[in-house]
Symmetry: C2
Subunit: 139 residues, 2 copies
DNA sequence: CTGGCTGCAAATCTTTTGCATCCTG
DNA sequence: CAGGATGCAAAAGATTTGCAGCCAG
């Protein structure tokens, strides 16, 4: 994730706690995950502050909103272009650092100006395969 | 979309209305879109029935849930494998029928059994480019 | 100092659920 | 006729908002 300085945000203790939690975090946490974790240090932390901070971060390019999960947003502090591998059983999300050539021919663009892409790979993770851990969603 | 018979669902007038609305629909409507449209014909239609029917359809493979939109699920009656092109301004979603070779090398799979993939292309649609129509979400 | 940030609570939006009644197969 | 479907309303979650008071720059 981008460092504190480059973000040019007013740095409050709450924001620093959120930034510290997100730094090097590869769990793709939800707002609630962040709220729970940071509340341990700041019991007065509110959702408003979590969402405000995430939105401020997003606007500065410090975090990406993932729409991978149907029930809630997840947030990714890794803002380098990359893809994701999602366990369809437990919803765990793993980063995929592979580059693919995904050009769209002119006729397939429907007149859009293309600005990016994102691949979701679906699968079953080793834990769910072996022991049927955390079956959070049936299919 | 799959025909009525193959679905093996108990066919009520409400379900037929929902199936008719979804047939050949390429708008990727939300549950609310479906509710609003079908309510015109069945004023007593309820969200419970819309969600029940969509869930029944999904289990039979008659519809796919899209998690492309951060604020709500969208539903796609086109269940053939395909990808999507999303306007980052107005959130319009267009089908992309192109096949890509997206194999993941063993070391990149993190032990997952891969079962599928989905590409989201992001761009700006012609309408938003030319006239800044429907700016539903700022970035 | 002052504009932006925080925290609380209420509001909003989407989706789910309980339950009595209805109707398809 | 029986089991599944409907409709209504209430509940559950996630996210947003209004606002008074606070504090980083």
């Amino acid at each position: 994730m981008i460092g504190y300085r480059e973000l040019r945000l007013k740095l409050t203790p709450q924001r620093i706690a959120i930034l510290d939690y997100l730094k090097d975090n590869i769990e793709h946490p939800s707002a609630d995950d962040i709220y729970k974790a940071v509340s341990l240090k700041y019991p007065t932390m509110s959702f408003a502050t979590v969402y405000n901070t995430l939105e401020a971060l997003r606007k500065k390019g410090g975090v990406t909103e993932l729409t991978i999960d149907a029930t809630k947003k997840r947030f990714d502090p890794n803002t380098k272009p990359h893809h994701h591998l999602i366990c369809i059983e437990c919803r765990r999300i793993v980063d995929i650092d592979v580059t693919y050539d995904l050009t769209l021919s002119g006729e397939k663009k429907s007149g859009f100006d293309i600005v990016g892409n994102h691949i979701e790979f679906y699968g079953i993770c080793p834990e769910c395969k072996d022991h049927h851990h955390n079956p959070k969603k049936e299919n």
